[in-house]
Amino acid sequence: MVIALHAERVSGEPHAVRWVAATDGVPAGRVVSAPGDLGRRFADGTLAAGLVEHTGVWLWLRDGLSWRDEGPAIQTALRAALAEPGGWVVEPAPGEILERVTLDLLDGSVGDFVRSHGGSVAAERDGDVVTVKLGGACEHCPAAEHTLHQRLIGELRRRCPDLVELDSRGGRLNLSLSPASG
């Protein structure tokens, strides 16, 4: 069974690619080492960093390399590595994961929705807590708060099943991932 996989750009980070795939069995967190060819690329510095989330793997290329050239080989390596979930070593990074996923969503459908209403939305991270704030036309709108709540939380939960919502008030959402699985 060939693992379903595709690559998406990360806005603002030309060296990053979010590889969308099911990461069943691979623990979420910052990549320390990976099995097979992928692991070798981490070891030799081709890949500067990696982050595993529930619905994909973020990979950063070393400066000076291009995804056009390295992409196909890395794709093959990643596919092989995902088939060996036990061979991955990660360190928990719940805050970083949550921040990236949130930013990804704000860059995409959820953010589009807010922006189409004339508002703005931003996210900030403090340790393991990510705070999402509405601005612009949506800042004091109760409907916006509610909708943001529903949409963002809904989408986030799909990507991070361990999402925990901390207190939220006045146009701010405070979010964190539950500690056990990071």
């Binding site: 060939v2 693992i3 379903a4 996989l5 595709h6 690559a7 998406e8 750009r9 690619v17 969308v20 795939a21 995804w67 056009r68 992409g71 196909p72 890395i74 794709q75 596919r79 995409g108 459908s109 589009d112």
Partner: protein
Amino acid sequence: MSGHHQHGGGTAEANVGLTRFAVVGSPNSGKTTLFNAMTGLHAKTGNYPGVTVARFEGRVRLGEQTVVLEDLPGTYSLDPISPDEQIVVDVLDTEHHNTRVDVPDALLVMLNATTLRRSLGLLAQLLQTGLPSCVVLTFTDDLARRRGSLDVAALSRAIGVPVVPVVAGHRDGVEALREAMAEHRSWATPVVLPPTDTAEVTAWVDSVLAAADYSLPDLDHRTRRIDAVLLHPVAGTVIFLLTMFVFFQTIFTVAAPLQDLVGQFFGWLGELVAAHVHIGWLSAFLSEAVIGGLGSVLVFVPQIVLLFILIALLEGTGYLARAAFLMDRVMARAGLEGRAFVALLSSVACAIPGIMATRSLPSANDRLATMMGAPLMTCSARLPVYILLVSMLLSADQRVGPFSARGVVMFVLYLLGAVAAMTAAAFFKRLTSRGVPLLPFYMEMPPYQIPRLRTVAAEVWTAASAFLRKVSSIILATTVLLWVLLNLPLRHDAELAAAGVDTSNEAAVSAYVLDHSYAASVGRGIEPLFEPLGFDWRINIGILSSLAARETFVATLGQVAAAQTPEDPASSLRTMRVQSGPSAGRILFDAPTIAALLVFFMFALQCMSTVGVMRRETGSWRWPAIAWMYMFVLAWVLAFVTRTAVAAVW
């Protein structure tokens, strides 16, 4: 099925220097509809150099800029299986191996939202070319109707290129696309190209569709229900036969009132000329050559247009694909396939759109074989000739059982035309397929649609304008030329008197001029060739003129009759006698001769326009020349056989 384009003349050279967009996608992706919508009816056509594939280009204004839009042939893959698909590969070859085609600057990739899983495979191949691409997503309305869903923004992120949804008939999508095209230099590109290995591509497609929340739970129930009837083994066959019956009935009965109107119009024109033009020769020229010549042909325009409309409607609804499906087994016996039936059916209206319809056949050999048989289908141009000859052969009240004898003969002529066409196509398919591996047969069955008025109008206009162009140029030129040849050289009174002609007898004078005209010399010159068929010089010049376009035969005979017996041209043909030679004195248009003429016209390729289209579609003069020659020989031999047989039994 094949989309339809305007076909004007012109080449692609005028477009050098402008930004080129190529529209690429699988058949049934809405490609040609979009192309027509963006270029209006202003597309130019030609051929790709050295091959038999037609090329469509048009210009689009994007604000200040003008860009070129090229509609590439529909393709399922960049692993080509037919000449059409090979062209797409050649055009998109960024390494320029084929320097005779221009690589486009950007691609518009048409993806049908209801066949997205399959279509994304083609996108994956196209992205490998590295050309800036924008996906044009079509049939999103059908997707919604089938309770499907798709997150367009998510799809765009997943594939890495912009996606513009477009619904046929709605302006906004096309407007958004035009804006996107203006910004083609800033189109997003995939950060990593999709995989090329087949298993990996399938996995890539699965991943993309999941990310885009794609679902298509329902069948197209409407199509399923309609097909349950139209493709039912019994009901479907009956409906198909009925449709064919209606099709053929249109030829004779439905258009009749309109034809009468056209006939009356030309009659009125003729009277106008007679009343107001007092210069003898000019009056004769206008009424005989121009009005007579054109009139006898234009009378059939209502019927031809009606046939074009029927074909366009059948194609637009998707029924022609079903007709091809029903007829495939029969066509397979001739080595062809169902889509060839559609091309032959179109030829009943006129061989020109019929030959163009062969583009829907993926196999180059099928295409050629069908083209070589198509002119044998009884086209509308043969009708005036058949009607004239049959009415001379049989009277209106002669019957065969309960049917009118004339009707039976016409039906037999149509049937024989179809049989001849199929046989010829089968023969050429055999001939050209020696040792060539057979292409696998597959035919997508598109959902039924309500035909778009604009598309139907464009198709009818394309076909009708080709016919009108033929009439206004070839037929007019031929009838004028014939008129000149029949009336020259002019004879002085002294000459006439010396020949024993009573110069006060108008009939005698015109008969003499005719008998000694340039046309007569030519007609007598080729008499040896046609004498065994029972033709004399008058029929011969009719045949010569008909080589340009069949319809002129009637006009030419009319001019001969008018010149011979000005006061009663109608009965003139029946009473004409052979003037010299072994059978002098025999009625010219006796049964064996008429039968021979009918058969001759059944088989001979008498249409320069058809030859021209064959040349364009095959890329060289070779095949049209072969077609012309084999049909001439066939026509002559079979006419001779017919004549002998009829003479023996009549």
